[in-house]
């Protein structure tokens, strides 16, 4: 599994460059869509396998007479897409139940993640967006093969969907896709791709990793058409929030900076740091990147510490998913330091239920940390969110 294979354009220090981008399409160029359907997505859910990553999941499902919902959900998305867009659709490794598509990918399927990756490679340079029916595992596989950084959007069809790339329904995914392809500017934002370790989860232990980030269409539908709304600028708000945060940083404090696209933009303001790792900064500069639990323990010892995090993925996790390096032991070694969370108000509004979640693996600690956290949403702005274990 290639963890860092997604290419993203330009690593500018400015948030609006680092996190959001616009791909101006030439007027004459015809838009094309890639459609990836993972034939084993979602199978493991009904089989109580906590996911469908096991290599033999297809065979197990066949033995049980189970059929994946992914082709059917892809057909629903395609139908909604076709209502307003007649662009060519390249589809593989299996085809949707209904709808006209051009098949791509291997002639003979292996029944593994290789099929998905082969399709993604075949789509390179051919499509404007990859719409996929699957879950977190499928998103990871796509990113691993997506060397040209094609934006991706998920049709929710998997067991695990912690990543930020999933639309709320197949129909919504289809409509967002149509809107994206017909937009000459094709605006995107970066979101995190998370995945749980299924073997650990089956053993009763939750362990999610932040694998990479991917570009996904920026959903502006609400903002663009609201007649009474002013010109809200979530990108500018976040950029200014980060600038204000940096301006308020104390010389004597060691800052432990979590992973994620927003945190990367903060680290870029401090001389640059890692996208997926936990870094530390002091005196206005990142002085340690991609540190593991032991390295963090050593760095926080005896220091005045603040932890800075963002909401990772699409499910409201702030601690314990994708940033396990900041472990209960690290928090205790740092003397239970204050935790600042930075996250845009739009992203918070999209959470259902309206709360954030922590899961450090230490139930007692989670209980202590739960409560109301003021999340930094803009310059001079905080929104209080209930944090639950």
């Amino acid at each position: 599994m290639g963890n860092f294979a997604c290419v993203f354009h330009g690593e500018s220090a400015r948030f609006h460059h680092a996190n959001k981008s616009t791909n101006e399409r030439d007027q004459g160029q015809v838009a094309r869509l890639g459609l990836i359907i993972n034939p084993v997505a979602g199978l493991g859910g009904a089989m109580a396998r906590k996911g469908s990553d096991e290599a033999d999941i297809g065979a197990r499902a066949a033995a049980e007479g189970r059929v994946s919902q992914a082709p059917m959900r892809a057909a629903r998305a395609l139908s909604a897409f076709r209502e307003s867009c007649d662009a060519e659709v390249l589809a593989g490794p299996v085809l949707p139940d209904t709808g006209t598509v051009t098949p791509v990918g291997p002639d003979v399927l292996q029944g593994t993640a290789e099929d998905t990756k082969a399709c993604v490679r075949a789509m390179a340079g051919q499509v404007d967006l990859i719409l996929f029916a699957g879950g977190d595992g499928t998103a990871r596989d796509i990113c691993a093969a997506n060397d040209t950084g094609i934006p991706i959007l998920g049709i929710p069809s998997g067991v695990k969907m912690h990543s930020g790339v999933f639309a709320r329904s197949p129909e919504r995914a289809g409509r967002m896709t149509a809107a994206f392809l017909s937009d000459t500017r094709q605006r995107t934002e970066m979101v995190e791709i998370l995945d749980l370790d299924e073997a650990a989860r089956r053993a009763g232990r939750l362990s999610a990793r932040l694998y990479t980030v991917a570009r996904t269409p920026l959903d502006l539908a609400g903002a663009r058409q609201n007649p009474k709304a002013g010109n809200t600028d979530p990108v500018g708000e976040m950029d200014a929030a980060l600038a204000a945060y940096v301006a308020g940083m104390r010389e004597d404090t060691l800052y432990v900076l979590g992973p994620g696209a927003t945190m990367k933009a903060l680290k870029d303001r401090l001389g640059g740091g890692s996208l997926l790792g936990v870094d530390v900064a002091e005196g206005g500069l990142v002085t340690g990147t991609d540190l593991d639990e032991r390295a963090l323990m050593a760095r926080v010892a005896g220091r005045r510490v603040r932890i800075v995090l963002t909401v990772v993925g699409g499910q409201g996790f702030v601690l314990g998913r994708g940033n396990q390096q900041i472990s209960p032991a690290v928090l205790r070694a740092a003397g239970m330091p204050p935790i600042d969370v930075i996250c845009g108000a739009e992203k918070l509004a999209g959470l259902n239920p309206q709360e954030l979640t922590i899961d450090t693996g230490d139930v007692a600690l989670d209980g202590t940390l739960a409560g109301y956290w003021p999340v930094i949403t803009g310059p001079g702005r905080r929104q209080v969110m209930r944090v639950v274990a």
Binding site: A80, E83, S84, R168, S169, E171, R172, R175, A221, G222, A223, R224, Q225, N226, P227, K228, A229, G230, T232, A345, E346, L348, A349, Q354, G371, Y372, P374, T377, P379, G380, R381, R382, Q383, V384, M385, R386
Partner: protein, 514 residues
Amino acid sequence: MTAPIKDYLKRSNGYRAAKWSEPVVMEMTGSGRRGVVFEDAPAPDLPGKAARKTAPALPEITEHDALRHYLHLSQMTLGMMGISLFGTCTMKYNPRIGERASLDHLKGLHPLQEAETLQGVLEMYDKFSDFLCEVSGMDQFVFQAGGGADAAYTHACVTRAYHASRGELQQRDQIITTIQTHPCSPATANTAGFEVITLSLEENGYPSLEQLKSVVGPRTAALMVNNPDDMGIYNPDIKEWVRIVHEAGGLCFYDHANFNGVMTRLRARELGFDACMYMLHKTFGAPKGGGGPAVGAYGCAEHLVPFLPGPVVVKQGDGYALDTDRPQSIGRVREFMGNAPQVLKAYAWARAMGAEGLREAADISVLANNYMDKRLGEVKGVSRSNPGIDVPRMEMTRHSVEQVAQDTGCSIFDISMRMTDFGIDALWLSHEPFLVAEPFTPEAGELWSKEDIDYWIDVLEHVIGEAYSDPEIVKTAPHNAPIHQLTSALDEPGVWATTWRAYARKHLKSMAAE
């Protein structure tokens, strides 16, 4: 209430908005066409450089051309002529007599006149202040703020001055609000230099006391909230909220944007608030819309009066004077005495209504909304915000067509545009951020009759039916309005021009080149 119309939906099948092939007035020009010319009109005596050397590029048209042109344009106005249940805006009829009164009594006056010669206006300001003090329990009202947001800003500035006078401004740098309070409260608090702490909604439809307590402390400067909120839910803990904030040393401001359903039923001061705001152009019957003149009447209790923007109208002997000697005042938030014509219209409306009238209007608006709420609950695909909460809603309720959008692909925008084909003004959706997907928020107030409300719901039901049977007709709407859907986004600078010069530069040149 408006008049009943029988079989409205059936009759409206033939509805067509006026659609004239009206050119831009600049295109109508014809050499030598003109209106009346006064031969002996004096040439203006302008200082050298102020006089232009060439004539302005104005169209040459007859008086009749001009009248006909603008009449046609007025007939193609989008909205404000059909049934408008534009929530959070409390759409009301603005009696013509108010218009007449402000013309007759104010057109000959100038705000720079000596106060001795403005006694009528000052008396009106004083009496209206008394009236609103009675309504709110406050001790003084001022009418300078040019709208609700301006009044919120006034409060943010008063908060700053109040804490500065006590030497606590450095310490008290946070203002607390809720996610469902109008965005102008956090915005103006930020503008005045405070950090904003926004509380999130919880299961009851409002933030819990525990959440409030988690952020109240020595840094708290003020609480700025509305109640009920736009979802129509009244926070019954509000007295306790005020007590908690007061105990920590903060001020409490009641944004009365949603006052219509509680007029005469509660007083902000009795709930403990230090200050409040009414929108005269919404709740109090003065015209609104189009960003025109508005008034945010700001009232406060005695301990904040010294900080009010001035000058303040005061009684002096048998008459009235403008008190300008106010050393602790925040200064001005607007020039002169604010929008006096709007104050006069609102005063006329309020006096005509009286206490009884206000109470009746409040009750009707709550009754009308609950009637709507019940009927909307029976419409396929329509759901209510906070569906699990069964407390009665006040004068408006937020609903959602998320189910319709899921099933048919027709969004609330599509449905709203299709409804205009039946003489319904475009819907009000929601303030941002959208906590409810595909939202709409109707507010009937006391104006609209049961027949109008029924017609509005009938049209919604009809359009949702179309969404399920023929979604194309909904998605391509409006069909009967003066203009149809825009063909490109409004943020395409190459396409859109908002002035004739820009239009000529962007389009006429290229047309000439072809």
